[in-house]
């Protein structure tokens, strides 16, 4: 069923399945809490911390439910028995110091009682010390970049972009099981290890969030924030950017694959091999058609969201590249805006994100695609020469 929840677990196995069911019954809203499409509660936790949060939320929900029932039982009693229409005469009282002190003191005691578990869960949540590996996540409009900072995979880095096809979003194709919650390269972490996440962003504030881990932290441009998780169960866990970051805020999911130690080691080896194989020879001289093929891929991943696959853009915020003055003008200015961005707009500096070859390829592609048939070729060496200028 396409509407299965993100986590591999099944609601009926939840330690609180019964509580959820009872609550739903009491509220008289829906009887079928086990159906994932009618999910009534937090996602199933897969870290010890997320379980504490889950339990704390359950406790609080019961507390407020009981308070609500208590208060409105009194109101209901009044509505039924103290009506004018059945001839009830109004009493004449308007103060009672003892009662007023009681309903100030009792809520205070309830609040103090729930402050204890709330405090200890929070203190645990912020303890990022003694992690087994550190990964830096960088928010871009609108994708995540991951870089393994410590551990076996140190040095591995890649971009993680939404992989749901455009046709599904535009309702031209049936939606897949993980519609909008799937990426080309998920983050891969070993099970049972304490993973410390460092978060930052390059353009606007994003937020890295995985509900099953109870992790949600802003990625603020120019600053580093940290958070952590220790996933207890293998599986694929999905979240989304949780801070409005512009046009495609709804289209930059977070996907984390938790794998066994062996699988993780194999993945790391594979990544390192792939990185070595993919490393472009910076001195290579490219031919136009192979460069354009590469450039189209880079364009689709990095540029098409704003400037559109047709190059028509979404003016005036996202200008057209087809027929653009910059694109059809001198290539130095074109390379400059791609590498350095345009401050005060959504145009990000891609110099740090993309390799020399990718920048050369995408700029060449833009100068040759659509009606911009300049026939011009740009070599990675030219990009390299511009770096640091």
């Amino acid at each position: 069923m396409a509407r299965h929840s993100n986590n591999k677990g099944d609601t009926s196995r939840s330690p609180h399945g019964a509580a959820v069911l009872t609550l739903a019954g009491l509220l008289g809203v829906f009887s079928n809490a086990a159906n994932a499409a009618w999910e009534l509660n937090l996602q199933l936790p897969v870290t010890a911390l997320a379980r504490r949060v889950y339990d704390l939320h359950t406790l609080l929900t019961w507390v407020i439910f009981i308070i609500f029932v208590g208060v409105f039982a009194v109101v209901t009693w009044s509505i039924i028995f103290h009506r004018k229409s059945i001839g009830h005469k109004a009493a004449d009282f308007h103060d009672n110091t003892a009662v007023e002190i009681a309903w100030t003191v009792v809520p205070t005691l309830i609040l103090i009682a729930i402050a204890f578990p709330a405090t200890s869960a929070l203190v645990a949540m912020r303890d990022t010390s003694q992690s087994d590996l550190t990964i830096k996540a960088t928010g871009y409009q609108w994708k995540w970049g991951y870089e393994y900072v410590t551990g076996d995979a140190a040095g591995v880095k890649f971009m993680s972009v939404l992989s749901t096809p455009r046709e599904q979003i535009d309702n031209k194709a049936p939606k897949g099981e993980h519609y909008l919650l799937e990426v080309d390269h998920p983050l891969v972490v070993p099970v049972g290890k304490k993973v410390r996440m460092l978060l930052t962003a390059t353009d606007v504030i994003h937020n890295w969030s995985v509900p099953a881990f109870a992790v949600k932290t802003d990625a603020v441009p120019g600053f580093l924030r940290d958070t952590w998780f220790r996933a207890e169960k293998e599986g694929t866990y999905r979240g989304q950017c949780s801070e409005l970051c512009g046009k495609d805020h709804g289209f930059m999911p977070v996907v984390v694959e938790v794998v066994s130690a062996e699988k993780y080691a194999a993945w790391v080896a594979e990544q390192k091999k792939a990185m070595a194989a993919n490393a472009d020879d910076p001195a290579k001289v490219w031919k136009l058609d192979e460069l354009l093929a590469r450039g189209e891929k880079v364009y689709t991943t990095n540029c098409a969201a704003c400037h559109q696959p047709t190059g028509a853009g979404l003016p005036p915020v996202f200008p057209a590249l087809d027929g653009s003055k910059i694109v059809k003008g001198p290539k130095a200015a074109h390379l400059d805006i791609v590498m350095k961005g345009k401050p005060g707009t959504a145009m990000a500096p891609f110099g740090a994100q993309l390799s020399d070859t990718d920048i050369a390829a995408v700029v060449a592609y833009e100068r040759n695609a659509w009606s911009n048939k300049l026939g011009e070729l740009i070599q990675p060496a030219e990009v390299k020469a511009l770096r640091g200028k």
């Binding site: 993100n6 504490r52 519609y179 504030i205 120019g222 924030r225 495609d248």
Partner: protein, 537 residues
């Protein structure tokens, strides 16, 4: 009775005003009469309510099913931004200023507001602000698409629509500050002899505290958006790390305004309900003194809890703990208020005319919103729920069911005083029940969406969220169209109907009921004698 001298004017509202100055449109542009200005505030706010409501229906239409159907994501962002700005600054705040203008002089026995000409200006600043906000949709790049919180650096990326929003906020702030100065001065200086502060109607108390909150917080918002403006155009780097600034600084400043703003909206709503519930319970308000202290405490604490909107921004652990405890503290005075209303009803002689129904609706739904607020106060839980639909549900229970339902309670309660006719009770009750049912269909399922992890401010969503979104959209369309009933009710009451007595509600207390219905154009030119039996507590 002072009002007796005006008895001959009763029912000749229009004639009464003609003798005093310009007629036609100029009467409204130049008026300094608190009743005229109150009426204009109320109509303005209802017009803005319809505009903001139409925007929310665009949002709910897009969210009815997964996939992009009707609007592009960037336009969706503009809709949610303007919906919030217009509802907060254009609909809810002016509605309660309208009540304040109409009712405060009548409640305290004053002939008008203290600064009658400034009163005119503070109203007429609103339409330009509304025009700036709504027409920003049509400028290149469209309106601000940042959410009403206007967080940089995203807001620095926006087009000229953002500048229009900033100037609109400046103008609205000026209007609010002038209105507040007026209200404070009126309440403190123009009460009829014998009406001490602790005998003053509770609505005046809530507005007195609200006006101080406004004066203290609106300049902060104005400062924040001005810094944004200079970051955008004059090369400053308040919110840009590359220039030594910090994007999170904006959030601190914004929420230092933004949290008191919540109570700026909620407190006058508390005030209205504190009049309606005793009237239809035919009892005195229970615990008047503790109500006043609770209002003052809420107003004060509201300045010390701002960063509970920022638990995920990376503020230090000690900061999170402090803001968690401070936020929990607000639950105590708020609880006191709810208990007082409940006890006011206890052993009363209850009847359920439309104002009472809306007050009860307020009580139930505002309590739900307050209780989910307690859940959100717990930092560890909030981190799961921040920026999800749980928060959207929470603040709509507080803002719509709290402020709007209370405004309706006040509208139905005082409409006979304003128009001189009783409204159509059947239509009023229909309006209440449709609002109550559709509101819950629209917003209750959003709690579940948020728990399951659906982020807010997204135009499209994963498939497991489809069913509750469909229900929510259905409810919001029902809620939206039910609100048109108010227009019918108000027009009918303006045109005619059963003539209202000076005191149409047998349990109502207060000086406003000692003048005829409709209230003559000028009332209390001489201070009335204050009868302690009319006192609130």
């Amino acid at each position: 009775m002072q009002a007796a001298q005006h008895a001959g004017d009763a029912g000749h509202h229009a004639d009464d005003s003609h003798g005093h100055g310009p007629t036609g449109i100029m009467r409204w542009i130049t008026t300094t009469n608190h009743k005229d200005i109150g009426t204009m505030y109320l109509w303005f706010s209802f017009a803005m309510f319809l505009v903001g409501g139409a925007m929310s229906l665009v949002i709910r239409a897009e969210l009815m099913s997964p996939g992009l159907q009707y609007v592009a994501p960037e336009f969706y962002n503009q809709m949610l931004t303007l919906h919030a700005l217009i509802m907060v600054f254009g609909a809810i705040m002016p509605a309660f200023v309208g009540f304040a203008n109409w009712m405060i002089p009548l409640m305290i026995g004053a002939p008008d507001m203290a600064f009658a000409r400034m009163n005119n200006w503070s109203f007429w600043l609103l339409p330009p602000a509304a025009i700036l906000l709504t027409t920003s949709l049509f400028v290149p790049g469209g309106a601000a698409g940042t959410g009403w919180t206007l967080y940089p650096p995203l807001s620095v990326q926006m087009g000229i629509g953002m500048d229009m929003a900033i100037f609109a906020v400046h103008i609205l702030g000026m209007s609010s500050i002038m209105g507040s100065i007026n209200i404070i001065t009126t309440i403190l200086n123009m009460r009829t002899p014998g009406m001490t502060l602790m005998k003053m109607p509770l609505f005046c108390w809530t507005w007195l505290v609200t006006a101080f909150l406004l004066i203290a917080s609106m300049p902060i918002l104005a400062g924040a958006v001005t810094m944004l403006l200079t970051d955008r155009h004059f090369g400053t780097s308040f919110f840009n790390a590359a220039g030594g600034g910090d994007p999170v600084l904006f959030q601190h400043i914004f929420w230092f305004f933004g949290h008191p703003e919540v109570y700026i909206i909620a407190l006058p709503a508390f005030g209205v309900v504190s009049h309606v519930i005793p009237a239809f319970s035919r009892k005195h308000l229970f615990g008047y003194t503790s109500m006043v202290y609770a209002i003052a405490a809420i107003g004060l604490i509201s300045f010390f809890v701002w960063a509970h909107h920022m638990y995920v921004t990376g503020i230090p652990l000690t900061g999170q703990l402090y803001f968690m405890y401070a936020t929990m503290l607000i639950a105590i005075p708020t609880g006191v208020k709810v208990f007082n209303w409940v006890t006011t009803m206890w052993r009363g002689s209850l009847s359920f005319e439309t104002p009472m129904l809306f007050a009860l609706g307020f009580l139930v739904l505002f309590t739900i919103g307050g209780l989910t607020g307690l859940v959100l106060a717990m930092t560890a839980v909030d981190i799961q729920l921040q920026d999800t639909y749980y928060v959207v549900a929470h603040f709509h229970y507080v803002m719509v069911a709290g402020a709007l339902f209370s405004a309706y309670a006040g509208l139905y309660y005082w409409l006979p005083k304003w128009t001189g006719h009783m409204y159509h009770e059947g239509l009023g009750k229909l309006h209440f029940w449709l609002s109550m049912i559709f509101f819950n269909i629209a917003f209750f399922p959003q709690h579940f969406l948020g728990l399951a992890g659906m982020p807010r401010r997204i135009p499209d969503y994963a498939q497991q969220f489809a069913d509750f979104n469909m229900i929510s959209s259905f409810g919001s369309f029902g809620f939206g169209f039910s609100q048109l009933l108010v227009l019918v009710v108000v027009f009918k009451a303006m045109k005619g109907g059963v003539k209202a007595e000076a005191r149409p509600w047998d349990g109502a207390r207060g000086l406003e009921w000692t003048v005829p219905s409709p209230a003559p154009h000028h009332t209390f030119e001489d201070p009335p004698k204050f009868d302690p039996a009319e006192a609130h507590g």
